[in-house]
Symmetry: C2
Subunit: 458 residues, 2 copies
Amino acid sequence: MEFSEWYSEILEKAEIYDVRYPIKGCGVYLPYGFKIRRYAFEIIRKLLDETGHDETLFPMLIPEDLLAKEGEHIKGFEDEVYWVTHGGKTPLDVKLALRPTSETPIYHMMKLWVKVHTDLPIKLYQIVNTFRYETKHTRPLIRLREIMTFKEAHTAHATKEEAEEQVKEAIEVYKKFFDALGIPYLISKRPEWDKFPGAEYTMAFDTIFPDGRTMQIGTVHNLGQNFAKTFEIIFETPDGGKDYAYQTCYGISDRVIASIIAIHGDEKGLSLPPIVAPIQVVIVPLIFKGKEEIVMNKAKEIYNLLKDKFRVHLDDRDIRPGRKFNDWELKGVPLRIEIGPKDIENGKITLFRRDIEEKFQIGDNEELIDEMEKTLNTINENMKNRAWEKFDAFIKIVEFNESKIDEIKNILSEERGVILIPYVESIYNEELEDKVEASVLGITEYKGDKYIAIARTY
Amino acid sequence: MEFSEWYSEILEKAEIYDVRYPIKGCGVYLPYGFKIRRYAFEIIRKLLDETGHDETLFPMLIPEDLLAKEGEHIKGFEDEVYWVTHGGKTPLDVKLALRPTSETPIYHMMKLWVKVHTDLPIKLYQIVNTFRYETKHTRPLIRLREIMTFKEAHTAHATKEEAEEQVKEAIEVYKKFFDALGIPYLISKRPEWDKFPGAEYTMAFDTIFPDGRTMQIGTVHNLGQNFAKTFEIIFETPDGGKDYAYQTCYGISDRVIASIIAIHGDEKGLSLPPIVAPIQVVIVPLIFKGKEEIVMNKAKEIYNLLKDKFRVHLDDRDIRPGRKFNDWELKGVPLRIEIGPKDIENGKITLFRRDIEEKFQIGDNEELIDEMEKTLNTINENMKNRAWEKFDAFIKIVEFNESKIDEIKNILSEERGVILIPYVESIYNEELEDKVEASVLGITEYKGDKYIAIARTY
């Protein structure tokens, strides 16, 4: 089955996201999908809190004059901004934009908060909805008109060096985040022609989807003093002078949820890393005639034993176990416990790992909780490693010269993935994109060497 | 100081919410305020999860024809809806509303999900931003154009009785929520002329602010089959017939944050119930010359002892302790630990309770954590009781007859609060509002008797 078809089907069948809302590019996070989102964003929230970021909430509406203040920035967004023009039947004096991103509202406020170098650094983030009037083909959780989940962080610093350090910290935070989710990534410095509108430079995380196309899943921007100059974020330096703040910003969106689904899933459906699985362990009692009570009692006993430690569900529906197995495999539950009369007699419990689709037995004793915990950690780890193996297999190093262009185009249209060209300054320009009929992701380091990364992107 | 002045000042000084955003009725949740919001909404989230509600996320934009589908509902909102008319420079084919509330998007989807009685009940909630083009005077966190935090729940049931039970469950959930926050409330059945547009009836929670005016802080609506008929939420009954779903919905907004501030605060500033305090315990070392190290070491030792169990902050700023005391009292930190050389010698620790403004000593020993936990619980409990005492003092029972109208008007314009009139059917109508120059909250039970509740409202 083709990936995009598989992806649409899984969103529906696993009850992640319902696309049937009557606005293109807008949909509904269903309960199961919402829980994946909740657990995923709890991880990034914790990482940001631990590194001294403060969570905040800024207005969703931006007055036209505020949004238009930074010239390059507005140019990057103006064709994609939704405009509110009326309140009730009254035309508004000033048009209001639905935030496409929050630099302008946040930096307008930062000006009020920053007076002297001791007010810095400021490290804020918020998790909000943002809007783009996409004219391209939309895709659920990948290219939306309402991005339902946008984690954006914004920082201001007293020196260029500190802002530089902040970019590094943000990259470390995102690495930890994607590692926790088992999502592999390539980090590139985006080319000049593809950086964030208004930034000095942009560092980006790309992963590779099963169809070989790359997906941008996170970006970190060094804004230099560009926005600070426009928004007059001025502070008194230790020696009594004045300077503009040095800023960075970085974001993660619903695409991370799309990536969890796409990277780990298989022909049987979702396969969720335990860290974000709404149900980590499902208990399926194997009912045999005459043994109903003994089996159900054991199932409940195990459920009660595990329920405070794991996200566990006891499936006591009156349907065949085989159907239950399929349901929970489709929904990606990482670990299944089967409880039948024979196992009970032998003091054993049968486990099934979704990631490797293998059964094994453990003793039904006081070490059960530890065993489960170990197994769930192993699954997280194994899923990550397997994802990186697939990812690395998608990466090909090709020396660039004119005679290689057909080979490169061939790879990019057949197997796709990422092609790494050993870095040569003279070829690093926008024309390269036309030549190879693909996008330049930017400059990247791979196993210690410097490359130009090229790919077909989402 | 007048309440509204106190309120504005405290939002600014305690760094809760910044009103200086350039759109009327829109502002910024600052880090400290955001944390109060986070802890408060964690409580309601837990209560809803425990009672079988599923968290979801629906689109913010609503097509005009969808919003207009339910006649009464749209009439209730049409003057207050913000309209998106353009995407980039392109006029949209269909105007899009910023959700004022989400009945229409949610019930449109419910129609797709409900086929047969076993699909019911559905109990959903979401915590989102909503919008009202308020023409009235706006007030931070009380009357906003962007309601930054709206927890809305929506349910559908197979029978009228189940919907009735759901209303009761919602009321119980809200009682527990407000009890946890120490916010007193009167529950009224709103009069016909003031119910939610499209509902059968509305149950409302009102609290009383220090200025004696009431504040609606939560509502629970029984929607009957009104919306189900409009949105065609039809299911097959157990006997093979067809019926429309019976629905309820209920909401809580940023007003709960305003209430925490207003109800518990005093002339020294905020006073936060430990359950939502961003900092539950602040440690202030009392530095004396020559004893710096011994005091700081002890302070750090206590900090390390407490930090995994409580939200604790060690204030090691190089300023006088008196200023630190003021800062943290202003910010409403419920418990302060003072550590000085004398206490260290005596094996004691001095605590200060923000709620009663009293100091006391406890032994610096292994029972410290238990003592702290007990004290924080006592503070929660005491703050709740004190708030209820103030609340009850605001409630006056007055028998109604024409000769009493001046007395009632007097009370309502001087002391304000709530006047309870023993229920008489013949006077229960909209004209009563004109007579007493106040709002009819509705019919309420107070200490076992039935009353008409009247008040000046926010």
